[in-house]
């Protein structure tokens, strides 16, 4: 695969290889979304050996991170070839071999901003799913104002000493490393004086604590840093210029969220229709409640329009054009659509949707209710809808700043 073959040939080749090698137990199990698969890391709970075999098979060919350079464990493919690879995975219902913030966020960022030593240290381990990463951006008093970084990193010899707190660090308790923003110059203006730092979660003084959400337990943590010593070499980019790195990473995050929520085409509608059939007791044919039917169709149309838009923007990128600030559009559209879908599902469930446990309620309804509660965070996390609207208004539409 040193010089990638033409796309058609490549597709045939991949297909044949998958037919021959992909573990049978994994076929048809996954929508192949960017977050559906093996998250890896040292703290990962025991996993089906086929998952690891699948990871190894792909790793050998660089296909856990197909667009990354071979030197760092990737396959050195261009975007078009990578898309073909994922299309074939999807066609067979296979999960991506390795997923997570390492692959989706810090990896691309290191490729752009990391130095050679950092790339060599981290990228191969991400490709192999050895190390799981989490993100340390938000702080308790920052909210949408991400540049309001208070966590201090003070230089002490060849180390920084880090003190402070991060919140909304997803899966921090299951991660091995965290990339975070720290304030290295408290006298500089907001966006300046921030550095982008990689921290080993095993360093003494790092303590993650789970945050309970209104939906119950959650993947989010608060992570406390007390006198954590981090080598100077772990700064990505220049000291005090971390904001540039941070912003580039945010773009990756938004588009991941948008895409991950998209799900399999039509699956949201199918779920709602099934729910309505169950709760209305209508096994087939037109749903007997015309108002619910209309609302489900409305939602189904929104879902299809969103998925078509996702596809259109992907095609635009494939065609080599820059799709601009698309990630803000997708983030808002995806998260609000998801919230509307859950809201409608709750309307369908009616009183059956009020359970917190399955005492007196169906477990399936209870899960849905918790998903509904969780969905309210989607328009807040990863840059709130308000922030995205600001971005569209200013960067895309060119509307002027307030006085």
């Amino acid at each position: 695969m040193s010089e990638a073959p033409p796309l058609t040939e490549f597709r045939d080749e991949i297909r044949a290889w998958l037919e021959a090698n992909a573990p049978a137990s994994l076929r048809g199990t996954s929508p192949c979304g960017p977050f559906d698969g093996y998250w890896g890391g040292k703290k990962h709970p025991p996993v089906d050996p086929d998952v690891l075999r699948w990871r190894d098979l792909c790793l050998e060919r660089g296909l856990t991170a197909p667009t990354w350079p071979k030197a760092y464990g990737g396959a050195g493919l261009d975007r078009d070839h990578a898309v073909v690879f994922y299309e074939e995975l999807r066609a067979m219902g296979l999960p991506r071999p390795v997923v997570g913030f390492g692959f989706a966020m810090i990896g691309p960022t290191l490729l752009e901003f990391g130095n050679e030593a950092q790339k060599r240290e981290h990228l191969p381990r991400i490709c192999a799913g050895e190390i799981r990463w989490c993100q340390g951006y938000s702080e308790p008093n920052a909210g949408s104002d991400l540049a309001n970084v208070q966590m201090r990193a003070v230089r002490d010899g060849d180390h920084f000493v880090v003190d402070g707190q991060k919140v909304w660090t997803s899966h921090a308790d299951k991660s091995d490393w965290i990339f975070c923003l720290v304030r290295t110059d408290p006298t500089a203006k907001k966006q300046r004086g921030i550095s982008f730092l990689l921290v080993d979660m095993d360093t003494p003084g790092v303590t993650p604590r789970e945050i309970e959400l209104i939906s119950g337990s959650s993947p989010f943590c608060e992570t406390f840093f007390e006198g954590v010593r981090v080598p100077l070499g772990n700064v990505v980019g220049e000291v005090n210029s971390g904001w540039t790195v941070a912003k580039a990473l945010l773009g990756h995050e938004r588009s991941m969220i948008g895409q991950s929520i998209g799900r399999a085409p039509g699956s949201g509608q199918r779920e709602l229709v099934a729910k309505a059939r169950h709760h209305l007791g209508a096994a087939e044919g037109p749903l007997p409640d015309p108002l619910l039917r209309d609302a489900i169709a409305h939602n189904g149309m929104d879902e299809e329009a969103f998925q078509l838009t996702l596809a259109r923007l992907a095609q635009t990128r494939e065609a080599g054009a820059s799709p601009g600030s698309e990630s803000s559009i997708l983030k808002i559209a995806a998260t609000e659509m998801k919230q509307r879908r859950y809201t409608l599902g709750m309307r369908i469930a009616g009183e059956e949707g009020l359970g917190w446990t399955d005492d007196g309620f169906d477990a399936q309804d209870v899960d849905f209710t918790r998903g509904w509660l969780r969905s309210r965070a989607n328009t807040i996390e990863g840059g709130s809808s308000e922030i995205q609207l600001n971005i569209i208004a200013k960067r895309v539409l060119g509307l002027p700043d307030g006085k």
Binding site: G350, W356, I380
Partner: protein, 383 residues
């Protein structure tokens, strides 16, 4: 002086204003919303405070609308709505809806003298709790799909059926049960004491921290004296009881949305981002202002509906639908915006605002959701 065409009087008189402010003060001190976190949820726990219920009985609030002959104060439903609004502000899980609305209203509207004498004094003094078990799985509030049966026997009836999600049935001393009388087709209401043989009650866990239970009736025998309202009119009675429950629940929703809005406006003023209070962002200002308008409209609907119970019974079905639909929509909007405007902190279990969002959804679907209310409204308006 006012003709039937003139608008319902929606203001509180001086005594009612005092009642409102006393209740609001007392309850925000004695029943802060945060206690929802601590009220034990384990099976066997009541999920509300019996001590607080007794205190409110002392204050006369539980018997506000119960006739003096039965130990109450003999005031109007409007007065009761004032206390309900206050109780809604902190999302109290005490058995207001079950006991004071569903149970007591059934007896007030259709109970025999003996039934009223037996139960109402205990309601007023806080010693007795009531519940209503009418809805069933898949019924979605449509009485024509009710399947529980009341088989006529020589000396009474045998009740069979399963009624999930009956509010506070786990603590009720007596449960009013709706069942289809056989032979025949009418729906009857029967008051069943808690200790009746064949009655099983299984506590449920609700996400909004109201308390409910599944009521199983496995050949429960009751006498003729258990029938509430003449059998011929029981279905109409049930509808009237549910209308009052809708209005009372709407009053609670009103209090809740007002408090959630208040918390949100306070947060908008105090939370600083990008160097300014987030309440200075015009997009948030306009959204907050729209919520304020919706609350004002909901408030008028609740007050008019509550007054109609006392003054214009013929308008109750229409106004109950109005109040419930308007409050459902407004409360949900307020609560959803409250979460969004609070940002991440509002999503955490340690912040109070999430309780309002859960309750908003629960209240919206209880006793018929918005679409159901609009259908009832259209029927009442002749189209």
């Amino acid at each position: 002086m006012a003709s039937e065409d003139s608008p319902l009087w929606m203001l509180l008189d001086e005594g009612q204003q005092m009642l409102a402010s006393t209740a609001a003060q007392f309850l925000s001190k004695s029943a802060p919303v945060g206690r929802l976190r601590e009220l034990p949820r384990a099976p066997g726990a009541d999920g509300f405070s019996r001590a607080l219920w007794a205190e409110m009985a002392e204050l006369g609030w539980l018997g506000l609308q119960i006739p003096e002959a039965h130990g109450g104060l003999g005031l109007g439903f409007f007065d009761l709505a004032i206390v309900l609004e206050a109780s809604g502000q902190t999302l109290m899980p005490e058995p207001f809806v079950s006991t004071l609305l569903l149970g007591a209203q059934a007896l007030l509207l259709g109970g025999t003298d003996a039934q009223r004498a037996r139960y109402l004094p205990g309601v007023a003094d806080g010693s007795r709790l009531l519940a209503l078990a009418y809805d069933e799985r898949g019924m979605r509030g449509d009485l024509s799909r009710l399947r529980a049966s009341a088989t006529r026997e020589a000396d009474g009836f045998t009740l069979r059926g399963v009624k999930p999600h009956a509010l506070d049935a786990h603590v009720a001393d007596a449960i009013v049960v709706a069942a289809r009388v056989e032979p025949g087709d009418a729906i009857g209401l029967f008051i069943v004491p808690r200790d009746a043989a064949g009655l099983a009650i299984e506590r449920e866990q609700r996400m909004d921290l109201l308390n409910a239970a599944t009521v199983r009736l496995d050949a429960v025998r009751v006498g003729e004296d258990a029938v509430v309202g003449p059998l011929e009119t029981s279905e109409a009675l049930l509808s009237a009881v549910l209308d009052r429950a809708r209005i009372g629940l709407s009053a609670q929703m009103l209090g809740a949305m007002e408090r959630a809005f208040e918390m949100t406006v306070a947060y908008l003023k105090e939370r600083v981002q990008f160097g300014v209070p987030i309440g200075s962002f015009q997009a948030l200002q306009h959204r907050a202002a729209r919520l304020f308008i919706e609350i004002a409209l909901a408030r008028s609907s609740v007050l008019a509906a509550a007054r109609a119970v006392d003054d214009r019974p013929a308008e109750v079905p229409r106004l109950a639908a109005l109040a419930k639909a308007k409050c459902g929509e407004a409360f949900w909007q307020v609560a959803a915006e409250a979460i969004q405007m609070h940002g991440g902190i509002g999503m955490t279990a340690e912040h109070d605002i999430g309780f309002y969002f859960k309750r908003a959804q629960a209240a919206e679907v209880m006793f018929g959701d918005g679409a159901t209310q609009r259908r009832r409204w259209a029927e009442a308006c002749g189209y």
